[in-house]
Assembly symmetry: C2
Amino acid sequence: MSGQIVDAIVIGLGPGGEDLAGRLARAGWSVLAVDEHLVGGECPYYGCIPTKMLLHESRRADPDWDRVAKRIRGEATDDWDDRAAVERLEGTGATVVRGHAAVDGGPDAAPGPGGTTVTVTPPDGGAPRGWTARRAVVLNTGSEPAVIEVPGLPASAAWTHRDVVRARSLPGRLAVIGGGPLGCELAQALAGFGVRVSMLVRGERLLSGEDPVAGELLADAFRANGIDVRTSTQVSLARETGGGRPGPMVLTLSTGEELDADRVLLATGRRPRDRVDVDEYCRVLSPRAEPVVGRYAIGDLTGAGPFTHTSMAQSALVARRLLAEDDEGNGRAGRAGRDGHGQGPPFPVRSVPRVTYTHPEVAAVGLSAGTTGTGDGTLRTARVDLAGSTRGWIDEVAGSLTLVAGGPGTPDAGLLVGASVVGPHAGEVIGALTVAVHARMALAELDRIPWAYPTLHRAIGTAVSELVE
Amino acid sequence: MSGQIVDAIVIGLGPGGEDLAGRLARAGWSVLAVDEHLVGGECPYYGCIPTKMLLHESRRADPDWDRVAKRIRGEATDDWDDRAAVERLEGTGATVVRGHAAVDGGPDAAPGPGGTTVTVTPPDGGAPRGWTARRAVVLNTGSEPAVIEVPGLPASAAWTHRDVVRARSLPGRLAVIGGGPLGCELAQALAGFGVRVSMLVRGERLLSGEDPVAGELLADAFRANGIDVRTSTQVSLARETGGGRPGPMVLTLSTGEELDADRVLLATGRRPRDRVDVDEYCRVLSPRAEPVVGRYAIGDLTGAGPFTHTSMAQSALVARRLLAEDDEGNGRAGRAGRDGHGQGPPFPVRSVPRVTYTHPEVAAVGLSAGTTGTGDGTLRTARVDLAGSTRGWIDEVAGSLTLVAGGPGTPDAGLLVGASVVGPHAGEVIGALTVAVHARMALAELDRIPWAYPTLHRAIGTAVSELVE
């Protein structure tokens, strides 16, 4: 089923896919852009944007759920209607089709002689249709919530973040299962609106993927917000107590305790919808670990960080690469099977930052002492307690800044390779560290920078001076 | 008058001088550290620290002047007593002497055969005493307020920032003369405590040394705070109306209008106490523009930015340089006249950031479009309106981020050479730009950085992409 022929097919129109389809179309390529969900992806409709709007509103002097719910519905998501996004993408010249798209033979199958064929199945059960991409197929199929099963929990009482973002009213008591970035952000936001929030976290701390001090400082802050944080705790059973009314229930916990709740928010992470291996140029690898000609993947399924900024930066990289072929080649026809030669620099996976937008914010980039283990002696770290830094003292801040340097005798010796920050505006402080890690800057050079006094990020200088001495 | 002989004399114990004296003493040098004022300088007693404490308190839900006045007196300045600082410095092994110090022959006079002689005059009118530095004299004599004369203004009603910081109670109506960083910070802080503040600014805008948009956005914010901002306005005359009681007065303005006030805050800038020329290694230059052997200057009098972070970074540079002599040489005696050969990198004057800690904050580093003129075509700029950035929109922020790149055909072509930011946490956002300007990073490289979404500093990426296209 070869069907209509285009230059490129982009499957999945989350931020990177939408961006890439537009870039290629604006450059004159014929582009098919396919998604079975909303064009724009999770980020604008259910993810980054509405959750940050909730956090912003929750920090006002007079948080008002109606106000932010209206803002999300009216200003941010157009009532979860992607018409404007579709029109914007079509305005670039791309063809936008709603449906489920699958590469014939699988995501890592080699293209045929005429290119790569993709079958698109419309959501309404219509007949599947084939499309062929002469030059490139880009997979951006994203991720979906990794929902866990809680025995006895009725579907009507089990919320995901999507239900929170769309809620017109809030429950009185909410149990959040999961202590990752999304669970933490939503727990704090909803507590700000007066919801009595309990967090039930399987691991020993919040944000288990981050510097351990982050989870500790965040738990302190959450408890000061009135959030009931319970670590090393799972839910064994839910039992409704409302006599059939949705809502009131008792949760039996793994600790043997019971907890009352009106809703349960399942914030137990996300998993990619597809599994592919990619190289550092976002090229999909065949089962023999060779790049499949004209096949790329960007976004959550690449494993380079499930972030809008990963996806957008990968889109820019793939677009540069594909459009460089134009500059090199002699026209477009018959170029199937040819891959770009303009290598350019690879995707800088080590300089992908991550930020949790709680108060305090938690941010990190590059290698972390926690995940790689300082005990093995290959990394050196220096930590600054922000409460003892000048600005931290003035502003009565709790926080921490940790730098990670390459170990002696390694190629990274004397270089900054990672950092983590917990504190107010940590998400802005990580900017400086993102640049430094990206540029593989020498500690000796960082040590010469006259960091503005008295900023919070000046603590970078304190930590650097410990590492260079 | 050669007197007692030491390795080094540090004149002026503001942040850099105190730091440098300690560094040299800890390395085993005999050091004389002299100041006629408080050890630690303006920053901890009257500058950065207490003014930022005022700003911090003024932004609480319930600003309380008594609370912050007590905090400044008790916690920050020990009632403006530098005993702890003196003891800390003496603990490094340095000899601390109170008095006015002057290099014999003048700050840029060549040393004699035994070294440089300095005469120290005690503050109590005691006999002057001579000291000789075998190896180095470092000048860190700082700056003092450039106070203007207002006809008719009684001394009791004329405040400097020192009076604000020491005040036990606040005036009802305050006229601030001057629209620089200090005037802006204190105006906003005091308005936060309920003082009715008028700003009388000679120039066309607030923060005339910064990107013009900074002054405009700040004036908008100040007016929203209830501050009466009057630009292109000077005070011609003050007339007391309290019948001899200090306080009530009428100011006649250059516009012909009259203004009631209880106090006038003179915030009309600072000027260096000494004038010397220095090279990029902080070496004092002779009238023939040659480095004077063993003579250094750091801090405000170098013209590299009147900031604590300038002074501290220059201290580190001079200490590295002087201590490198130890590593090279064969002992210490008879080394007068010898200057360090370990050049090392120069002081990075272009990567000195500056921050005004108002709401919004105003921060800049490196070259600015405003001061060098984009009209001449040697610089390229890109501006992002932060209100239109994702985070700015979510958080309902007013602000601006401007990047400055080297012009085509210049050695700086394609490099980031300056930046300015106005907005919340601009002082943290400037951290990333400080690193990038310091490292002379290529725009093409900055364009590859996956800036965390949705931070404010992600607007850097937007501006960079405009400059690389």
